[in-house]
Subunit: 460 residues, 2 copies
């Protein structure tokens, strides 16, 4: 691995220097100048190469060449590792080469050393990765995905690429995007009798996926445990800092799952484990983002057992504390974010609310055999973000499923799954961006995804 | 890890038995009965739990209970590991419990022990994961993705979730899908002056992504090396066994890349490395799929150095061998698959064709400074599948880029990237399904993706 790394990159990356180098090592680095200080004998350059949220200092003797260096320019520097007075490594360079000019004065929107509001930074989406907290978020996002893939692979889950174009509307909420070829010519060419013109590519109306769950289920009946970490889409007119039109869902389906408590336990252990992995790989970036968002770096939910509470009990808690709530309690629509956060704060831990009213939940959830008004469903409520995961046992009885009043037409394949060697299954879905908000403390979901899509905005 | 595995699954998975167990171990398994043989004293059950392409044999004394077991049913069995006459482990069960009936006679489309044609299997997409070679493909697909993520992470590449809804049409080919909310109501609600009604959600025409490259580039200018392994979409009316409307692209963008040969070397080492990893994790499934596809299990390209050949030299080779080609040579349109395979066979190794005619390639490729008729582009040609990767150095000069005759309007942000501290970059894209076809020998691309989408077909 070292050989190939060296082969295509003759420089050391800044994130590796503290880990792999020692005082006196000779090495080269490459990166953007974030800041320049010129003292009498030496010029001090703060260098960023995209690998770390710490700036790395390069010290060069003052000479006519370094005189022309400007912030934003790209340099390569070769020299020797020394220890700065603050204890950090720095590079005493004997050679600095300018690779490209910064030209920041020609319209670059971010002033060096100045902190810009996230709304302003978002306006310049194509240049946003050059802003330190955005870059840190992207590295954390990468490592969090890596942690999920590693964890699920260790447990023998098979990652399934659930399709993004689908003829289902899983949640039945109708908030879907429709897809069709842009070319009228192509649609005409592919026309078939009895198929509406705009549907001629697939012979049916096609939507962007709102969830991979039903497709995962089909795979689980052959492969056992499966998961996906895939984009999902909602056509909602929401300006909320917790919603996007295109976001990522981490969903898993567990074979032979017969108790909701086992699912809750699985989710708790999974979230603690992947978060500990992210803390191991990305602590510097994580603390940088937390500080930047004025959020605590403390994640107390990592070390306590989480609460499991029935819907009925949760409702009682809320009803007994009406005066502390900002929103009215509804018996038809689940809890508001305010109420979710109250329950978390009341319990002092994350809360799994289990055994929900049947009429509040989708058709595929398993009905409690001794009480048809309740389904084996759970919502996981977390500090700051409220609902992070939703999950359930799935209705395994073909007849009960097909006679559900909300059972969608054209979903006979879903019932079919249960007919031949049916097994109890269950699973959950987690909004991946909300998870990132939870651990980094970032307020707006638009700042934890590289290219946010929301009402009236689809830049690039 | 073992603890959590045990917690939610009290049974051992079949794929682990050969690795982790020994003769005399007591354990339980759960799975579907694939086949039953009844001898005088014992019943022999071939069990599949989705974890392995080998069937696992359970031996149970004949008794009235086992008399009722049928293929397709789900059982749990508890007993002791013994060694069968063929040397494999088997379970001598003292307890077998039926968990669900098979009911295969009630319309199950796949007859046990019979080999069905892929076209027939595909017709029953929702039950397809129960077919052994499909399940094996899905496990290989998972492990190949895992290998890519591991490899790129080890080399410090940052995975970027490039957006799937975009206002760009990167390749400019026009074969795009258009996206809009399905709800007329919502579109009306969101209407703005001067925006066409069907575009009111995003205030512009929005497409499904055909490539993540341009977005990766934007990120690379802040983060250094980046990659994505993401869905891409093409609205083509193609019935080819190498094309899908929704497929996966593995794309990477390398910072500070100044020579095309370095990119070729990177691709070669990456493909050899991830394939060796897949051979390590999935050799049984791989050989099962290769046998099933009547393909060789030999991948000779793993151990030889690959050829780099200029477009001009490749053209000469083809022109000198016209009589061996099935298709005419075009000077405007690149090589046909027949010609690609001829070049691979002629060289006896995979071939990087480099330095392509400028007019055959997209606007973003770097023009050779001493010959404007050639760009620093490469195509990687492999046995069986032909073109597997396409890549290039990117044009780093803002003025050259914007004056390209095919430069798309509204892409000024892409030029902007080069203006402030521009660096040389380059990268490649690889069709992930074609890679799977290459290693497994599977002829039709529809059989290496869980839910294939192609003209007139978007099931489930």
């Amino acid at each position: 691995m070292l050989l190939i790394r060296r082969f295509y990159c003759s420089s050391q990356r800044i994130s590796h220097i503290a880990k792999s180098n020692k005082r006196g090592d000779s090495l080269g680095i490459r990166g953007w100048i974030k800041n320049i200080r010129r003292l009498k004998n030496n010029t001090f350059l703060d260098i960023d190469d995209g690998s770390s949220s710490s700036r790395f200092q390069v010290v060069v003797p003052r000479n006519p060449e370094t005189q022309n260096l400007t912030p934003g320019s790209v340099i390569s520097a070769v020299g020797e590792i020394q220890v700065a007075p603050n204890g950090n490594f720095e590079l005493h360079a004997d050679r600095v080469e300018s690779l490209a000019e910064g030209h920041l004065q020609d319209g670059y929107p971010f002033t060096p050393k100045q902190k810009h509001a996230p709304e302003y930074v978002r306006e310049h989406l194509h240049l946003r990765s050059r802003v330190d907290y955005v870059a840190a978020q992207m590295r954390i996002r990468h490592k969090a995905q890596k942690a999920i893939h590693d964890y699920m692979d260790e447990l023998d889950f098979v990652q399934i690429n659930t399709p993004l174009m689908t003829t289902n509307d899983c949640e039945g909420a109708g908030e879907v995007f429709r897809v069709q070829p842009d070319s009228e010519e192509l649609l005409k060419q592919m026309a078939r009798p009895n198929v509406p013109a705009e549907q001629s590519y697939f012979d049916s109306k096609v939507f962007l996926s709102v969830s991979g769950q039903l497709h995962l289920e089909a795979m689980t009946y052959g492969l056992g445990n499966t998961y996906c970490l895939a984009p999902a889409f909602r056509a909602e007119n929401s300006k909320s800092p917790l919603h996007l039109a295109e976001f990522y869902m981490f969903e898993a389906e567990l074979a032979h799952l017969d108790e909701l408590e086992k699912l809750a336990k699985f989710i708790e252990q999974m979230l603690k484990s992947i978060t500990n992995r992210v803390l191991e790989t990305s602590s510097e970036d994580l603390h940088f983002c937390q500080r930047n968002a004025n959020a605590s770096s403390d994640l107390p939910w990592l070390t306590v057992p989480w609460t499991i509470m029935s819907y009925d009990d949760a409702l009682h808690v809320l009803q007994a504390n009406k005066e502390s709530l900002k929103t009215p309690i509804s018996l038809d629509e689940g809890f508001t974010k305010d109420q979710e956060l109250f329950l978390v704060s009341h319990c002092g831990t994350p809360v799994f609310v289990v055994d929900w009213p049947t009429q509040q939940k989708p058709f595929y959830m398993k009905i409690t055999r001794n009480n048809p008004d309740r389904v084996h469903a759970l919502d996981l409520l977390m500090p700051a973000v409220g609902e992070l995961c939703g999950g359930s046992l799935r209705e395994s009885d073909a007849a009960t499923l097909s006679s559900h009043p909300q059972f969608p037409k054209d979903l006979s394949w879903y019932v079919d799954l249960r007919k031949y060697g049916g097994i109890p299954t269950g699973g959950f879905g987690m909004g991946f961006e909300r998870y990132l908000q939870l651990v980094t403390g970032v307020k707006n979901i638009r700042d934890v995804i590289p290219f946010p899509r929301y009402p009236h905005s689809c830049k690039m």
